[in-house]
């Protein structure tokens, strides 16, 4: 087995060109992902999770751009790759699953077309062979009568079925990595667990790496081996799931855990973090969390805390931990 990680993100910085100067949505984010491993990225809405996900595909939409950092995937530097080489990686070595399956699938193309094209974009095989692969993947996501399903349009599917199709599309070219951006958020609560279980099972059986992006720490603890907590564009804590979810270090992660609905005793008040995550134009100097942190001290307002080892296998960015 090679020791090199599948994906190595180093100091990734993604900015958006705005009228009043640039806005840093992803600020020096670093993490590694080993082959077949599963990483969860959690954080409130607007923390920069999706932008990070698209950044890995080098597919940040305008006016965004990768301002710095490195993205080493299977030994190749994605930030420096020509567009055609990137295209051959997207949907082939790295697949992406978006949040809302109704917005993701093209309404005027059949499921078959949308599956077959994904294969033919990367492999020189016949349409019949591609269709056979598509059928196989539909079976893998447990959708009945795949033959008939191929000829149907997205609106003929329920939300859950659509997301199963999107997962099937992600599997088409047997990628090494799947990036799933809030894959269950838009779905009915009753089927969220099913979809998550399906995704987890497939990643295990096909030995695919997974980056699961979500705002729900409970979801990510079920699936991921490691968790990265993002706040205002930075990773504030990263480590093994048991550590981050069981013994959180960073005050923000602790607050996030306290805010988990399951932990609240019946009738008890939800232990929420006071205030809101700042918009990117108003991130405080020093620690980005300082203005909401109940423990905040003088040093927190002055210096940005580095991401350092704090507890077993765990990195956190906080001045007050040692």
């Amino acid at each position: 087995m090679d020791r090199q990680p599948l994906l190595s993100v180093r100091d990734l910085e993604i900015r958006f060109r705005m009228r009043h100067g640039d806005l840093t949505a992803v600020n020096r984010v670093s993490f590694d992902l080993a082959r077949g491993d599963r990483l969860g990225i959690v954080g409130e809405s607007g923390a920069g999770k999706s932008v990070t996900g698209f950044g890995i595909l080098n597919l940040v939409s305008k006016p965004g751009y990768i301002a710095g950092g490195r993205l080493l995937f299977e030994g190749r530097e994605l930030t420096a790759l020509p567009e055609e080489d990137l295209r051959q990686i997207r949907g082939n070595r790295i697949s992406m699953i978006f949040q809302d399956p109704m917005m993701t699938l093209n309404p005027v193309l059949t499921i078959g077309t949308q599956m077959v094209e994904t294969i033919l974009a990367h492999r020189a095989i016949s349409r019949a062979e591609a269709t056979a692969i598509a059928l196989d993947r539909i079976r893998k996501v447990a959708i009945p009568s795949p033959q008939k399903r191929l000829q149907q349009y997205p609106h003929e599917f329920s939300g859950g079925m659509r997301q199963r199709i999107v997962i099937a599309i992600a599997l088409l070219n047997s990628p090494a990595l799947i990036i799933a951006d809030e894959p269950t958020t838009a779905l009915d609560v009753t089927i969220q667990a099913d979809i998550l279980e399906l995704l987890l099972g497939l990643c295990q059986s096909e030995k695919m790496g997974l980056i699961l992006i979500t705002h729900d720490l409970a979801v990510v603890s079920q699936v991921a081996e490691r968790i990265a907590v993002m706040y205002a564009g930075t990773i504030v804590e990263i480590g093994p799931t048991a550590q981050v979810a069981g013994n959180p270090q960073h005050p923000y992660t602790r607050g996030l855990l306290g805010a988990l609905p399951q932990r609240v005793p019946r009738g008890g008040r939800l232990n929420q973090i006071p205030g809101m995550m700042p918009t990117l134009t108003r991130v405080p100097e020093g620690c980005p969390f300082s203005n909401r942190c109940t423990l905040c001290e003088e040093v927190c307002r002055r210096r940005v805390p580095p991401l350092e080892p704090k507890a077993a296998g765990c990195l956190a960015a906080c001045h007050l931990l040692d």
């Binding site: 698209f54 597919l59 295209r87 949907g91 697949s95 993701t104 005027v108 994904t118 609106h155 599309i169």
Partner: protein, 325 residues
């Protein structure tokens, strides 16, 4: 789909009834049918007898019914000036107009799609800005001015292209006189087609650009890119196919405008089509011919729109399904 088909055809029939009613009302209030068949030397008593015999004193609805029945058999009355059935006169002139409309539509389609897509993909490029600028100017200049400018530059000034008439024609089966098969005929088509397209082209470029820009912002386009599809396929199959629906609808409606503007264009270029004929008919107060023109063009318009809507149903899976249920 079948229910949708029936519904759409029923609507078309209803619209045709309304058109025939309008046409018939014009005929009743403006024209004097006796003028078509009698001379000046007929006495008042004879006229009254004839009026009674022709049923011109019958109730309005009954007469409209008769008008409809005759129209269905292809009888739209006689042209006072040509002394021939009005429909025959129109059919003789129709090929000129239809060929002009067809080459104009072709020009609009062939230019607006690539330019519209280009302007949507590269909105800041100077060429895209140039196209958008020109299209603003184009849309604000009246057609007859464009036509006269074209004639002034390309016929009078440069002497490259003929300025009037249809040139050398070839008679096809059914007596269709076509200018498509001789180089002279094609040359004569150029300036009128450009003049006529000058109203549609800016509209379509702007429409396609706007729709395409909106589509390019959607998640499914980003997803198509994330699947690693080739840029051309993302743009044309995933992007343009989704803009096709509104474009087809507007296209169907604008065809009516196009036909209306042939009246001006044909007059300027002395193009011997239905449009020029209509102006002459108005000059001569040839009521039957005017009404026949309205009914004929109305029928053409309704037919095309119905076909367009049915095609729309084929392109749009939602309608297809809704119709199937």
């Amino acid at each position: 789909m079948f229910a949708f088909f029936i519904r759409r055809v029923t609507q078309a029939v209803f619209v045709m009834l309304v058109i025939s009613l309008i046409g018939f009302t014009i005929k009743q209030s403006v024209g004097d049918p006796l003028r078509e068949i009698t001379g000046i030397s007929v006495s008042a008593a004879e006229r009254d007898a004839l009026r009674e015999k022709l049923g011109l004193n019958d109730p309005f609805l009954l007469q409209w019914g008769r008008f409809l029945a005759r129209a269905l058999q292809g009888d739209l009355g006689n042209s006072f000036y040509f002394k021939r059935p009005a429909l025959q006169v129109i059919l003789g002139k129709a090929p000129a107009t239809l060929e002009l409309v067809f080459s104009t539509s072709l020009l609009v389609v062939l230019l607006s799609i690539p330019i519209g897509i280009y302007a949507a993909v590269r909105p800041r490029a100077w060429l895209a800005r140039f196209f958008m600028g020109v299209s603003i100017v184009g849309v604000s200049i009246p057609v007859f001015l464009t036509a006269i400018l074209l004639i002034y530059v390309f016929s009078v000034g440069l002497g490259w292209l003929p300025s009037f008439g249809r040139g050398e024609l070839v008679t096809l089966f059914g007596g269709w006189q076509s200018g498509y098969f001789t180089s002279d005929g094609l040359k004569h088509l150029i300036l009128p087609s450009i003049a006529l397209s000058s109203i549609m082209l800016p509209l379509f470029i702007r429409l396609i650009r706007a729709e395409m820009k909106e589509v390019l912002e959607t998640d499914y386009i980003k997803y198509a890119r994330a699947k690693g599809l080739k840029p051309g396929r993302v743009l044309l199959v995933h992007g343009f196919k989704n803009t096709l629906l509104p474009v087809i609808t507007v296209g169907g409606v604008q065809l009516g405008t196009l036909i209306a503007f042939t009246i001006l264009t044909e007059t300027v270029f002395q193009w011997q089509g239905m449009g020029a004929m209509f102006i002459e008919a108005v000059d001569r107060a040839d009521t039957s011919l005017i009404v026949a023109y309205l009914v004929f063009v109305g029928a053409l318009f309704v037919t095309v729109n119905t076909v367009v809507d049915l095609v729309y149903g084929l392109v749009n899976p939602m309608i297809r399904i809704a119709g199937r249920r």
